[in-house]
Structures are given as structure tokens and as C-alpha cells.
Amino acid sequence: MEIQKELNGTTLVVKIIGRLDASNAQELTKELNASFNGVKDLIFDFSGLKYVASAGLRVLLMAQKRMNKQGSMKIRHVDETVMEVLEMTGFADLMNIEK
């Protein structure tokens, strides 16, 4: 997994490339925790994300709860396989997702 972050004012775009699974979910948690301060709009770019497991979903849930307190969160460019997992777990209804 590769994480690319781009901060524009109070908008943070986090692009995740590869796989988000049990082996690296913690790495993303750390990256996010180090970046949340001052962010009003968090945008995940999933165009390069090919696989997500429950460990990754937990990070998204944590991020969404945090952003609900300080702004908004959006997930963009979601791959079909990843979308299926988000739909199966009901996450698709809880989060602002653009395919």
C-alpha cells in the first residue's frame, strides 16, 4: 500500500494505492491521526485501491467518526470490488461515496 497525501488549505486528499488490509491498516491509522488537525474536508481517493478487508473498514469508520466532529469526509473513485465490500457491510449508506 502506498499513501499519498495532499493538503490544500483545510482540504486533505488521501490517495491510497494498492491494498488496504490487516497488514497495513495500522499504518494508515497513524498517517491519518498525524494529519487530522485543522482538516475540514477529508477526501479519500480510491482510484488506486484494489482491495479492502475489514481492518481497512475499521480505519474508514474511525476517520468518518472523527470527521463528523470537525467537517466532512468523502470517498472518491471507488473500484467495483471495493464498492461491493462497502455495500455488503452497510458502509456505502453511511459514507459519502462517489464511484
Binding site: Y51, A53, S54, R58, L61, K65, T81, V85, G90, L94
Partner: protein
């Protein structure tokens, strides 16, 4: 039937995944099923790696078997850790509002939604979880 035994630790997940995914690829299994199986293996194996042996290290055995009509793969995950029936875990309520959503239980829920059959038994001091997926 093929058997594969490794130490139950997350670092070994790629080995377990290859053990299952490679023969499926050889059989011309669709990309969608391959991804679903990868998810199933990860969720089950990571659970064993994280919780089966709270006081130390232990092993996990994965048995792999194929059926022809209809085409299906059967996987059995065996560990000698603390007795734990993941199927007793209540499904997360996926209709809850965000703030009420719990962090746990998602993995096994995904497994249940993805496979065609799933059974658990505790026998001879072993957790035995069997899944079957048509492909």
C-alpha cells in the same frame, strides 16, 4: 486434499493466500471469486492469528479440497487455540447510524456473506472452521 500448516501470525497471511488462490487461478476462477476468496482467507486467518493464542504462538492448518460438479472449493481452518465459535458472534447491525456502529464483528460477517456454506466445530481441542464456495 492438500494440507498446509504455518505459525498463526499475520506475516504468514500471504503464504496462506497463495496456497488457496494459486490453484483457483489455475482452474480459471473468475477475478471476482478470487478477490472474494482472498477476503475470506484474510478475515479467518487474521482472526486466528490475533485471538487463538493469547499467551503465545501456535499453529494453524489449512486444508484445501476441490469438488467438480458443481465446481467448489472447500477450506478448513484448524487451530488448537482457545475455543472460539465465530458463528456465535452476533452479526453487526448494518442499518445503525454511524455513531452507533461498532468496530468489531465485521470480518466474520463479510465471510458469512461471501461463502456458500460455513460450519464450525470444536473437536479434540481444536477449532475447526469449514467454508465452501462455489465458483
Amino acid at each position: 486434499m492438500e494440507k498446509f500448516t504455518v505459525e498463526a501470525s499475520i506475516e504468514n497471511l500471504p503464504l496462506v493466500t497463495s496456497f488457496v488462490i494459486e490453484p483457483l487461478e489455475e482452474k480459471g476462477c473468475s477475478m471476482k471469486i478470487l478477490m472474494q476468496m482472498e477476503l475470506v482467507i484474510e478475515e479467518i486467518f487474521v482472526n486466528v492469528a490475533n485471538y487463538a493464542y493469547p499467551t503465545g504462538h501456535g499453529m494453524a492448518t489449512i486444508c484445501r479440497d476441490f469438488e467438480d460438479t458443481p465446481r467448489a472449493i472447500e477450506l478448513t481452518f484448524i487451530d488448537s487455540g482457545i475455543p472460539y465459535n465465530p458463528l456465535e458472534h452476533e452479526d453487526p447491525d448494518i442499518n445503525l447510524e454511524l455513531d452507533e456502529r461498532e468496530i468489531g464483528g465485521l470480518g466474520i460477517f463479510l465471510v458469512k456473506k461471501t461463502v456458500d456454506e460455513i460450519h464450525y466445530e470444536y473437536k479434540d481441542s481444536q477449532n475447526i472452521l469449514t467454508i465452501k464456495k462455489l465458483f
